[in-house]
C-alpha cells in the first residue's frame, strides 16, 4: 500500500477477566474510504471500535495492541486529555439507538452547541448559528424549529440525523458508525445511508461502518473485514469478499442472506451458533460449524493468510489444505 492509511490497527486484543473478547485485530482505513466491519452478535465488532476509541473501562477490560495509528499519531500513547481532544473532534462515533445516545432533557440544538463549544471554543451565538447550519446540512426539515425540540419529539430517522450532525460538527477525519441504521425502517435506512455517503464525499472523511447487514456493506463499503468469534477471518475489497469469498463462514453468511429479488427453494444455513468467548473451540474457531471440516482443522488455528492483492482469509482450505510450509494432511 503506497498511501498511508488514516487509521491503522495492528494486533488489537481485548480481554475481560480470563475471556479474550477479540484477538489480533488488524484494520486499515484510507482517508475518504469506507471500511465495513461485518459479523454476527458477539463477534467483537463493537468491542473493536470501543477499543480503538479507548472507551473501554480500563479497570475492567485489558486492551493491548501493537499499534493504533490515526493520522500519523499513536492513539495508544496519547494521554487521557489528549485522547479526549481527539474524540469528538477528529474521530466521531454514531450508534444504533440515537435515543440512548442523546440527552433526553436537552434540546437537540444545545447538544450540537455543546460539542462546538467544547472542541472549537466557539461562543454561544456563533455555535448556535453553526448548529442550525449543521441541522440543515443533515437535511432536517424546518431546522429552525427543530433546533429547540427535545429528542422525544423527533422520529427515529430524525434523531439519527441529529446524531450525525453532532458527530460531524467538528468535521472529523474518521467517523465510526456502529449499526447506524439497524433500528430504522428500511425506507429511512436508505435515506440515512445516502446522507452518510454524501457527507463523506463533502468532508472526505473515512468511515468505519460496523454492521451485521451484508446488504448495507455491499452498497457502501470499499473494503470489508468479516469477524467471527473475536477475530477477523477474512478481509479484502468489497468485490473480493462478495464475489470471491474464500472463508466458509463468509460464504455461509452470504448464502443465508435471503435475496429480495429472486426466489430460493430452501435457505442455506450455517448449523450451530456463534460460540461465546469462554467456549471457543480449539483449532479453527469455525471448525465445529464448517461444512468443509477436516481433522486438521481441529489441530491448527489458521490466521489471516494472503491470497490475492489485499485479499486475506483465515482458512487452510483455499490453499488446498496446505500452509505455506508443508503440513501433514490427514485426510484427502
Amino acid at each position: 500500500m503506497a498511501v498511508t492509511p488514516l487509521l491503522s490497527v495492528r494486533g488489537l486484543g481485548v480481554s475481560l477477566g480470563r475471556a479474550a473478547l477479540i484477538e489480533g485485530v488488524d484494520l486499515d482505513l484510507m482517508m475518504g474510504k469506507t471500511h465495513g466491519l461485518v459479523g454476527e452478535s458477539g463477534s467483537g465488532k463493537s468491542v473493536s471500535a470501543m477499543a480503538i476509541m479507548r472507551l473501554l473501562e480500563p479497570r475492567q477490560f485489558r486492551v493491548e495492541a501493537q499499534r493504533i495509528t490515526f493520522d500519523g499519531r499513536d492513539l495508544s500513547a496519547l494521554g487521557t486529555t489528549e485522547m479526549r481532544r481527539v474524540r469528538g473532534a477528529e474521530i466521531s462515533m454514531i450508534f444504533q439507538e440515537p435515543m440512548t445516545a442523546l440527552n433526553p432533557v436537552l434540546p437537540v440544538g444545545e447538544q450540537i452547541v455543546e460539542t462546538l463549544r467544547v472542541h472549537q471554543g466557539l461562543n454561544r451565538a456563533t455555535a448556535r448559528k453553526r448548529a442550525l447550519e449543521m441541522l440543515e446540512w443533515v437535511r432536517i426539515p424546518a431546522a429552525d424549529r427543530r433546533i429547540d425540540e427535545y429528542p422525544h419529539q423527533l422520529s427515529g430517522g430524525m434523531r439519527q440525523r441529529v446524531m450525525i450532525a453532532i458527530a460531524i460538527a467538528c468535521q472529523p477525519k474518521l467517523l465510526i458508525a456502529d449499526e447506524p441504521t439497524t433500528a430504522l425502517d428500511v425506507t429511512i435506512q436508505a435515506q440515512i445511508l445516502e446522507l452518510l455517503h454524501e457527507l463523506q464525499r463533502e468532508l472526505g472523511m473515512g468511515i468505519l461502518l460496523i454492521t451485521h447487514d451484508l446488504g448495507v456493506v455491499a452498497g457502501y463499503a470499499d473494503d470489508v473485514s468479516v469477524m467471527y468469534a473475536g477475530r477477523i477471518i477474512e478481509t479484502g475489497t468489497t468485490s473480493q469478499i462478495f464475489e470471491h469469498a474464500l472463508h466458509p463462514y463468509t460464504q455461509g453468511l452470504l448464502r443465508s442472506h435471503p435475496p429480495v429479488d429472486r426466489d430460493v427453494d430452501e435457505l442455506p444455513t450455517i448449523p450451530g451458533t456463534v460460540p461465546q468467548p469462554h467456549e471457543r473451540p480449539n483449532g479453527c474457531r469455525f471448525g465445529p460449524r464448517c461444512a468443509h471440516f477436516r481433522q486438521i482443522c481441529d489441530q491448527t488455528d489458521p490466521r489471516l493468510m494472503g491470497f490475492e492483492h489485499q485479499h486475506r482469509a483465515a482458512c487452510i482450505r483455499p490453499k488446498g489444505y496446505l500452509f505455506d510450509e508443508p503440513l501433514e494432511v490427514s485426510d484427502g
Binding site: A190, L214, P259, D261, D263
Partner: protein, 336 residues
C-alpha cells in the same frame, strides 16, 4: 376476495383505534391512533399470509386483535368459519388451543425462573391436557420437533442462545392442537445464519403439520421466502394485497415499489434506491385522503382529499391507489 375454498382465517373490516394521552382542557378530544383501519383479508388453510410494513403501520396490533389479546372496535374475525369476537371466555379458551403466537423476543416472553421444559408444558397444564406421563412424552416430542436436544428441558432461558430460545417459543406455541400460528417478527432479532435456521424450521413445520401462518414482518426478503400471499400495510391500512409472485413481479402501489427498492442487496456497489423522501407520518391523525400522499412520488390533487378505493389489478391482486383507478371520479360508473 379469495377463490380457494373456505379460508381458515377471514378478517372483515377490522378496525381498532386507540385513544392516547389526556384530553385537553375544556373537553378537547383525546387524539386517536388509527392502528388498524378497515382491514380485510383471508388465509386459506395451510397457507402463509405475510403482513409487511414499517413502524406504526399496525401490523402488531393486527396480530393481537386476531388472538383477542386486545378487542377490536368493529369488524369480523372468523376462524374456521366461526366468528370469534362474540365468543365468551370459555369458548374463546377452546379457540386459543388452535391459535398461537410467536413473538420477536422470546427472552421477554419466557419466565427466567422457569425451566425450558416447564415453559413448553405450561400450555398443556393450563388447558389440562393429558396425564403427567403423556405430557412428558409430548415434551420430548416437541423438543425433537423444533430440533432441541432433550437435556435442554432442564435448562433456564438464560442458558440458551437467541435462536434456541426462539425454538422454545415455537415448541410452546405448538404444544396444543395449533392450526394457526401468528409469527410477529419471529425471526427479526436473530443473526442471519440463525435466522435462516428458524425460517427453515417454520417452513418444515408448516408442511408437516399443515399449519396456517399469519407472518408479520418488516423484512421483504424474509417475506419473499416464506409467504404465499402478502398484504402491505401503511398507517393502519392495507394498501396492497397479492399472491407473492405477483407482488414481487408487478408491485402496483407506489409504497410497495418503494419498500422493494429500499432493501439493500448483497451485491457490490448496488445501493438501496432512495425511493421515497420524508418520514413516516404519525398514526395519530394520519394524512387525509391517501395516507401515503405526503411521501408519494406520484402525488396528485385527488390524493390529498380522497382515500383511493381498492382496485383489482390481477387475480387476487388489489391495491389502493388513484393511479390505478380505471377512471377518475368524474367518469364514475364505468366498468373496470
Amino acid at each position: 376476495m379469495d377463490d380457494r375454498g373456505t379460508p381458515y382465517l377471514r378478517i372483515t373490516n377490522l378496525t381498532k383505534h386507540f385513544r392516547v394521552g389526556r384530553g385537553g382542557l375544556l373537553g378537547r378530544k383525546r387524539p386517536v391512533v388509527r392502528a388498524v383501519d378497515d382491514v380485510s383479508f383471508s388465509i386459506a388453510r395451510g397457507e402463509t399470509l405475510a403482513v409487511v410494513g414499517e413502524s406504526g403501520c399496525g401490523k402488531t396490533t393486527l396480530g393481537r386483535l386476531v388472538l383477542r389479546l386486545i378487542e377490536a372496535d368493529s369488524g369480523r374475525i372468523e376462524i374456521a368459519g366461526t366468528e370469534i369476537r362474540g365468543l365468551d371466555h370459555r369458548a374463546m379458551q377452546e379457540f386459543r388451543r388452535r391459535v398461537q403466537i410467536v413473538i420477536q423476543d422470546p427472552f421477554g416472553s419466557l419466565n427466567p425462573r422457569m425451566l425450558i421444559g416447564q415453559a413448553i408444558m405450561e400450555p398443556l397444564d393450563i388447558h389440562s391436557v393429558g396425564t403427567a406421563k403423556a405430557r412428558r412424552a409430548r415434551l420430548a416430542e416437541l423438543l425433537d420437533l423444533v430440533g432441541l436436544p432433550q437435556e435442554f428441558a432442564a435448562r433456564f432461558p438464560h442458558q440458551l442462545s437467541g435462536g434456541q430460545r426462539q425454538r422454545v417459543g415455537i415448541a410452546r406455541a405448538l404444544a396444543l392442537e395449533t392450526d394457526l400460528l401468528i409469527c410477529d417478527e419471529a425471526v427479526s432479532a436473530l443473526d442471519v445464519s440463525v435466522q435462516a435456521q428458524i425460517v427453515n424450521l417454520l417452513q418444515k413445520l408448516k408442511h408437516e403439520r399443515h399449519l396456517t401462518y399469519l407472518f408479520i414482518s418488516h423484512d421483504m426478503a424474509i417475506v419473499r421466502h416464506i409467504a404465499d400471499h402478502i398484504a402491505v400495510m401503511y398507517l393502519g391500512e392495507i394498501v396492497e394485497i397479492a399472491p407473492k409472485a405477483q407482488l414481487f413481479a408487478a408491485p402496483a402501489h407506489p409504497y410497495t415499489q418503494a419498500l422493494l427498492k429500499s432493501v439493500p442487496r448483497a451485491r457490490v456497489q448496488e445501493r438501496p434506491k432512495l425511493a421515497i423522501k420524508g418520514d413516516i407520518p404519525s398514526p395519530i391523525d394520519p394524512p387525509s385522503g391517501c395516507r401515503f400522499h405526503t411521501r408519494c412520488p406520484h402525488v396528485m390533487q385527488i390524493c390529498r382529499s380522497t382515500p383511493p378505493p381498492r382496485t383489482t389489478v390481477g387475480p387476487n391482486h388489489g391495491a389502493n391507489c388513484h393511479l390505478l383507478t380505471p377512471a377518475l371520479p368524474a367518469a364514475k360508473g364505468q366498468s373496470a
